[in-house]
């Protein structure tokens, strides 16, 4: 059940300033959230939840005003007795005798330096790419009309930018990419995600010959957490699992042949 922000804060025995400090949000904003003047920005919800060690769903987006508190109003700035605010000076400094703004003379603009020679790493990178493209350095030099070694850093960078896309094109023609994941267990993770989101019941066969039925409520690279029909939750290490499938009771038939 979601609670008012101010109630959660007080439960955690935090001042508004402490909450502001922890969450990185301005005090005034938190006061506005607590008073219900504005609803909590979804971007701030996570920060407040983390600062209060609660779930985001535990916080009411629109707090009810605290009983007995009046509406939040911006208070006028208190005057410090004996202090005369200085005209034209926010910090209370005496006004300058010369009211003209002081302009700093512009710095003379430095002449741009000519780019340095190409870095060795750029040259090595270019040579590697040429090798992959099956082209020779001499060909490229003939195309450019000058030796690669004479290129400066900027020109070399531009040249690399033109050669790089050719690598992508040539590789895509020859590279064998099976219908396979980028990461090591993407397909299984997708399957489990779909099962978890769909609330499907899975039937696990374990190495010790036992079975496990239940809804997937979480999983990681090495384990799967299942909620059984009686509500108990079990985390099973994948190393203990032989195979699993959608629960046969939900439609799929028998066990594979032994």
């Amino acid at each position: 059940m979601a609670e008012n922000l101010w109630a959660l804060r007080e439960k955690k025995k935090l001042s508004v300033a402490a909450l502001a400090n922890r969450s990185g949000l301005p005090i005034g904003l938190i006061m506005e959230y607590e008073s219900g003047l504005r609803s909590i920005d979804p971007r701030h919800l996570g920060r407040l939840a983390r600062a209060l060690y609660v779930e985001e769903t535990d916080i009411k987006l629109q707090s009810d005003p605290r009983p007995g508190s009046g509406p939040l109003e911006r208070q006028p700035r208190r005057e410090v007795p004996g202090r005369v605010p200085a005209e034209g000076s926010a910090a209370g400094r005496p006004p300058s005798a010369d009211p003209r703004p002081r302009a700093r003379p512009p710095r003379p603009r430095a002449e741009p330096k000519p780019p340095g020679p190409a870095r060795p790493s750029q040259i090595v990178h270019l040579e590697n790419m040429l090798k992959r493209l099956g082209r020779s350095k001499e060909d490229l030099e003939a195309e450019l009309g000058r030796p690669i070694a004479e290129l400066d850093r900027v020109a070399m960078s531009e040249l690399l930018k033109t050669v790089q896309p050719q690598i992508g094109q040539s590789d895509s023609a020859t590279r064998r990419r099976a219908h396979l994941p980028e990461s090591v267990d993407e397909h299984e993770a997708r399957y489990l995600t779909a099962a978890q989101e769909g609330g499907d019941r899975l039937h696990f066969t374990l190495f010790d010959g036992s079975y496990l039925n239940g809804q997937v409520i979480g999983f990681g690279p090495f384990n799967i957490t299942v909620r059984q029909a009686d509500g108990t939750e079990i985390s099973v290490n994948k190393l203990a699992v032989v195979h699993y499938r959608r629960d046969p009771a939900a439609g799929a038939p028998k066990e594979p042949s032994a």
Binding site: V184, E188, K238, L239, V242, H243, R245, E255, P256
Partner: protein, 152 residues
């Protein structure tokens, strides 16, 4: 189950001794045990397997046959099955046999469309052997273990 996976289990049964403990206790060259266990392709020879069989006190043949069924060969067979849209039979370490069409596979599991059970997710560490075996000349897997990191 590949030799590497099986050695990992034996190591766990021995209370989780480390590869370094094993190397220290045997005459295996430095780094060889780790390679046998961690590489996807077959690493090791009869001599080193005999050393390990003596160390773990298991029959030589129980380790030796697994050398011919490395993880990479399973990947190759799965790719071949997937590309040919043909069935593959997996013989599991529990004694079960599952046959089906490879829908997907990754480093951890295989999604197999079976007649009996629909889509069955088989954990790769449970697979002992498979049929058909893809030949060495079959297309190399372009999958996650294609770029097996070279150790040392």
């Amino acid at each position: 189950m590949s030799l590497g996976d099986y050695l990992r289990i034996l190591r766990a049964r021995r209370g989780g001794i480390t590869p370094w403990d094993i190397e220290a206790a045997t005459d295996l060259p430095k780094g060889l045990y780790r390679q046998i266990e961690q590489r996807y392709r077959a690493v090791g020879d009869d001599e080193s397997i005999q050393v390990l069989a003596d160390f773990f006190d298991v029959p030589f043949e129980e380790l030796r046959w697994r050398l011919d069924w490395p993880r990479k060969a399973l990947s190759r067979a799965l790719v071949a099955g997937r590309e040919a849209d043909a069935s593959i039979t997996l013989f599991l370490s529990t004694g079960q046999t599952v046959t089906g069409r490879v829908v997907w596979w990754d480093l951890g599991a295989v999604g197999l469309e079976t007649l009996e059970a629909g889509l069955l997710v088989v954990q790769r560490h449970a697979v002992e052997r498979w049929d058909p075996r893809a030949t060495e000349n079959s297309p190399a897997p372009g999958g996650p273990d294609a770029g097996e990191p070279e150790l040392d």
